[in-house]
Symmetry: C2
């Protein structure tokens, strides 16, 4: 289903007060998305809170089943439970939902879209389009040109994920714990089970029976769905690190046909939304703090892995709140309305 | 060559004022190594500095070619250049050198030893025994029982390495930068090319022409030498993270024969120097801040990697200054003198 062509679209942001919701509003403004009315929705305790959009103050309203009357596009980032509860009401009211949660991602009738990778899936929606997991998005953007050129058999990924992915309370927790450690005070853990300051936690989202975390399984399953390739082999270890913003990923791939490190560099240098930063002799490679606030997926440390015949190592960094969530959702809305053309 | 049996051994620590040197002195004391005289050596600017050993204050002396008269065992941790310059003088004076630098590690006549893995190599020394790189030591300790049981074909490792591995100035830099970020002050980088506070740098040691860092090549080459297996395939991405102490590693292996995650857990639970911490349902897994100051190699997140037929993922954490450097060197000295028996 495409969306009816209009001059301006009425847009709702559900979860407007969260880190991703904030970024969605910012990005709609930055990219001059043709917004008619902007409806900002959140839980009851944020009712009346004012947020800026194009210089105007908009009061946040409480998300209810009746919120979506007259809305064309609803961007959801209020957690899986809220998406499951309220997205169907938005669809019933005639809106197309772009959902940032994991609620619908693996449902067959729901397209899971990264506009640089599988934009053609958007029209297959039945009211809901799912935005993939942050760590998956940046990886598939970087791997797609290689996948198209030489095929990819297997991916082994280890992540270095920022606390902003866990929301505003996690950002606060990192700051408070860091100060406490520096002042030799006892550290209190509430968002994470262990101290995150000056530490690394190989634990993102809940553990499953097979010993993997949900985050790891998301990277495995979503990569297959987005690339439309059930045969691609993926394994992941996802790790939270004491970084505020920007996910980094150490990615090892086995390609089907041989490709050199130099060829990968050229390929990615010409690909959309990717910026190659890779001059080891000048200590040039992507790092999280430089990716924060930017739109691109940054790739560096590109080199052949000689432990197998057709191996490549890459280091992939992106702003997890922007390309990993809010930006990708707005890009989907742009594709939906044809404003990406 | 074995060492002449004695009641007590005269021990020199070259690089006594560094982080690893300090830990060597502490560990010699903790493990009641039979020390006769303890000679503490460092560069001229530390001359006269007092360090404690078994309650006694010992003045640091300047490291010279004439320092080693009467010394039985010289533990070196003063950097590659100093090792190259002064270790031969120690050997000439009759000492056996246990060298923590990378200066001699890949020389054929120099044993590269992790006592839990290849202690039998120690007697092959010609005056110098090399201590492997920190990130290699903890990995091979954890992998050896698996290697012996089912064989290992390939290792893909991504590291999360603490700043203490870069010495005391790096520890200071992390603290100062962290305070500056929290106080919105500009950050000054001197040890690392980018801000390390709240950031991850995929860059440890110098870059080589093939795009790998020396640290990555150390992990590849040293693993082969320690396991005595030139056919084992290894690739590595080594990353500095804003952690004071304790290296973490995400390790993916392909074994020769099939082994289940449960079998790996049992195997490692009974292996020397390894502590398995692996109860996902209780959020139990190793983390750097808990490994700091401990002797064991901690292993968790043990699970089958179903992206290949015979794959296992592990998360390996250890104190990089202790097992990764000072403790391993003292253990070599214990093997040398037979006091490990």
């Amino acid at each position: 289903m495409t969306i009816e062509k209009k001059e301006k679209y009425n847009v709702a942001v559900a979860g407007a007060t969260g880190a991703v919701g904030n970024a969605m509003i910012e990005i709609l403004e930055e990219r001059n998305f043709s917004v008619g009315n902007l409806l900002l929705l959140a839980s009851e305790r944020s009712e009346g809170k004012l947020l800026k959009f194009h210089g105007e103050s908009i009061a946040v309203r409480t998300l209810t089943h009746d919120s979506f009357e007259g809305i064309d596009i609803a961007l959801f980032s209020a957690g899986s439970e809220r998406s499951k509860e309220f997205a169907p009401s938005a669809v019933k009211a005639g809106a197309v939902v772009v959902d940032n949660s994991s609620a619908f991602r693996m449902q067959d009738e729901v397209p899971l879209v990264v506009p640089e990778v599988n934009p053609e899936k958007i029209i297959e929606h039945h009211g809901i389009i799912a935005n993939p997991n942050c760590s998956t998005i940046q990886m598939v953007v970087a791997l797609k040109p290689i996948y198209d050129k030489v095929g990819i058999k297997r991916i082994v990924v280890s992540t270095y994920q920022a606390v902003s992915g866990s929301g505003k309370k996690a950002i606060e927790e990192l700051s408070i714990q860091t100060k406490d450690v520096l002042n030799f005070k006892p550290v209190i853990c509430s968002v994470y089970p262990y101290q995150i300051a000056f530490n690394c936690l190989p634990h993102i989202d809940a553990f499953l029976e097979n010993g993997y975390t949900k985050e790891e399984v998301k990277m495995i399953d979503e990569t297959k769905k987005i690339l439309g390739d059930e045969a691609i082999c993926v394994t992941a270890t996802t790790v939270r690190v004491p970084v505020y913003s920007g996910h980094s990923e150490s990615v090892n791939i086995e390609t089907k046909d041989k490709i050199s490190g130099e060829e990968v560099k050229k390929l990615l240098s010409n690909a959309p939304s990717i910026k190659v930063l890779d001059n080891p002799e000048k200590s040039e490679y992507p790092v999280a703090i430089q990716a924060a606030g930017k739109d691109e997926v940054f790739v560096g440390r590109i080199r052949e892995d000689n432990s197998i015949e057709k191996g490549i190592n890459l280091w992939i960094v992106s702003d997890n709140i922007r390309k990993g969530a809010a930006l990708n959702a707005v890009q989907i809305a742009e594709c939906l309305t044809g404003s990406d053309k």
